[in-house]
Symmetry: C2
DNA sequence: CGATCTCTTGAGTTCCCTCAACTTAGGTGG
DNA sequence: CCACCTAAGTTGAGGGAACTCAAGAGATCG
């Protein structure tokens, strides 16, 4: 199907996904080979392009290789709420094909490269490669933890705390996949997108960002966040470093 | 281990769990037998008693047989946010033992009967009984859908819509496990608990409930909800019936 | 039958929203 | 390269939804 050149290309593009899984559960060469094979043939999406829409029949599992993607839902009144950000290496629900239809949409936030893993390949991998299965289940548990943290943030934190908390989360996630320098990382999200994720308005997000900048905690310019005072930011956010479960339990 | 009397008792208590799974994916007699066996030895919890606390090492999977249970988290400032309600038949995260420690607590809201399934029993069942695995994965996907719906509600609905939406969700869930009559069901949650789930204060929940009562949409008394005008309530909530995925996709 | 929890209602405050205008940045074509 | 266009960011003024504080009524239980 693909030349050896293609294979190397695919291999390099799937690195983030594989290395993320490998960080959760050590993978063998055979695991990595089957993963590289499964997540081949990536596709490009433009900003604001939907990967799949609410109401659609779920297809293959998505794996983000490059760029940012989000899950979102539009309410009858036109308001939008983003429920999750997917960064390079992140995948969507494992068993999604069990459901009849999508209850939300998934959209590229930036230009994004996304691979797909067919249902059959998934079943095969989960059944025969236990390390892959364990790693994917661990990744899914982490994603669920993030969702719960978002509920807590939106429900009980004020706007300042909420912004700070999201930035902390995204910084940790970016760093764990090698996309953050010390105290700085690329955040290609407009204030409107941040607002849709935080349950705020873009205007208010703008004011909060100014407040955090003036307070010397962090600043955003040109799609890049600089964390000026990590201690202060963590303090404002009430951020619990451990919630992203960066240390997995030993296999047993 | 247990007498036949015990077995029958257990069997009746696990009915809701098994019948819920059976509603998602048809189970064989053998599936049902192994489930009854695995979810034996239930334990009683008192209201406000924790099943497990944030920071604890995850143990076996919990399955609620009777009563209401919630996931929650307490913030540094003392505020509490409930992230999920578990009703009879609901279970906790399948692969939770992959994680090092709990990132939230789980607590009985009412007096509750809860069974546990050990890690080994779970692995065994998931590996050898594909119907059970499919049903449990479907249940988990539904729970994730509910979490996403909560993010949307808390993020983008006002208090009235939020209360109405939660009541719609809980009514559908109660009805699907046979715990709701036509337009009426038991809701053993104080206004403070509702507030903690909705990201509101108890005082405001009280005002909203009055508003909904006066509007003739629904009324709560003595732990029981009466839906007076379902159409109006659904309309206020902007409720999408399909989000609970009550129709699973056919096995393929 | 007092103690305690839950519910209810009022008054005042605050956080965030809405609306609106203006500035800045980035992209495109003449 | 400038002129234009559009999207994104910034700031102000005013309003409203939800919060806080407080006090009292009602229910539940030992």
């Amino acid at each position: 199907m693909s030349s050896s050149g293609d294979c190397r290309y695919v291999s390099s593009m799937t690195n983030r996904f594989i290395s993320k899984l490998n960080g959760l559960v050590p993978l063998t060469a055979s695991d990595i080979a089957i993963l590289e094979d499964a997540a081949a043939r990536p596709r490009e999406y433009q900003p604001r392009q939907d990967l799949i829409r609410e109401g659609d029949e779920p297809g293959p599992m998505f794996v983000v290789l490059e760029g940012w993607v989000c899950r979102y839902k539009i309410l009858p009144n036109g308001a939008r709420q983003i429920m999750a950000f997917l960064m390079p290496g992140d995948g969507c629900d494992l068993h999604i094909t069990l459901l009849n239809e999508m209850d939300h949409s998934i959209q590229a936030v930036t230009k994004a490269t996304v691979a797909t893993i067919s249902k059959d390949e998934m079943s095969e991998m989960l059944a025969t490669h236990h390390n892959i299965a364990r790693a994917m289940y661990a990744a899914q548990l982490i994603d669920e933890g993030i969702m719960r943290a978002w509920i807590v943030s939106i429900g009980r934190r004020n706007a300042t705390e909420r912004v700070a908390h999201l930035i902390c989360e995204l910084y940790i996630r970016a760093r764990s996949i090698g996309l953050a320098d010390e105290g700085e990382f690329a955040l290609p999200l407009s204030q409107a997108v941040l607002a849709d994720a935080l349950g705020l308005t873009a205007v208010h997000v703008n004011r909060i960002l100014k407040e955090l900048r003036v307070a010397g905690a962090m600043s955003i310019k040109r799609g890049s966040v600089t964390i000026l005072d990590p201690i202060a930011l963590i303090q404002i956010a009430g951020f619990d470093e451990n919630y992203l479960h960066r240390r997995m339990r030993r296999a047993g």
